[in-house]
Symmetry: C3
Subunit: 143 residues, 3 copies
């Protein structure tokens, strides 16, 4: 049985929509909604060499802190995803691997691409929804 057989069209599309909603939340500053896409014991490895944030509450604090860093900077951040590959794991979860670009726009400015990254998520998927057991970011400029 190949990955193509077990990753159904419906599943692939549900994941695309899950990510779209998740990034609309993040880029609108709804950090609670983003944090809620992790499992209670989820792991967010947000950069190589950095201690991962473990647990939804820790992740929530991290996301909120990060958003505060900008302070009064009136930047609109948008996260773009592309080239999504899903594969079933032996443990029943799914590996999700894709490209991400982070683009910032300030009032009167043009889009600035600040980061290109490879992302690896482990997703728990059932009829009720999708949760992230982990997200691991690998920014290309830190490779």
């Amino acid at each position: 049985m190949t990955a193509n057989k077990t990753v159904t069209t419906d599943l692939y599309l549900r994941v695309q929509q899950f990510y779209a909603r998740q990034m609309h939340a993040q880029d609108s500053g709804r950090h609670d909604d983003y944090a809620d896409t992790f499992t209670e014991d989820g792991v967010f490895a947000f950069g190589p060499g950095l201690e991962p944030a473990v647990g939804r509450e820790t992740i929530r604090a991290l996301l909120t802190d990060n958003s505060v860093v900008g302070g009064d900077d009136p930047v609109q951040v948008r996260h773009w995803f592309n080239q999504l590959v899903l594969e079933p794991r032996d443990d029943g979860a799914f590996d999700s691997r894709f490209y991400a670009l982070v683009v910032n726009t300030r009032p009167g400015g043009t889009p600035e691409f600040v980061t290109s990254a490879f992302v690896h998520d482990v997703l728990l998927i059932d009829d009720d929804g999708i949760l992230m057991r982990s997200r691991t970011l690998s920014p290309d400029h830190l490779a």
Copy 2:
């Protein structure tokens, strides 16, 4: 009943393909084909603070005029979309919200990103096809 239940995989994919064809039309200068994706009484709110274009013929004229602005500029414009979220409305139409980037390339040049925007469409979808009742553009640099 949640949005996830009523926005089927087929519907989500039909909208993706609708947008791909629409943008191939726009970026190839087939403004009639783009205008025809609006309803007869469609509304194109193409920028905050600007009077929306109302009605397919008015929109057609706007699209053609806009394309003329460049004059002899041999620019190839491409519109990219990402992070599409579809949700059913109470009135039977669908809210479609997504990110857009406009990238210009001139002969011998490299890609220039001129606009990052948030787009909100209201779509009428039936077995025959998809039409836009409205499109509202919110460029990030005008936020």
Copy 3:
């Protein structure tokens, strides 16, 4: 019968996943895997005015050569695709047309977009998989 009717949701999604896997291969330097996505007699027209590479082995050599051009340059290349339009051909194959962006990131640097292109593939699709009979690249800066 319209293209919308014959390009099923499943087919459209299979092509999306095919491209995602293909580009993960290319951007990871797995040139054999990329070459294997062409038919044995596949044609890779990689630029206007350039002699196309014909046959999987010739394409394999081209891909490997191109990757060597960079030499010691520690660049991470990523290929992004968007606005995919699929249409059935009279000969049973499918025309696949989409936008591509090539983005380079070097250690400590920010993403650099080097090419925006229009891509036209002819795809052979059956239950076993997808193969490219041809790929034709039309970079926007050479238009």
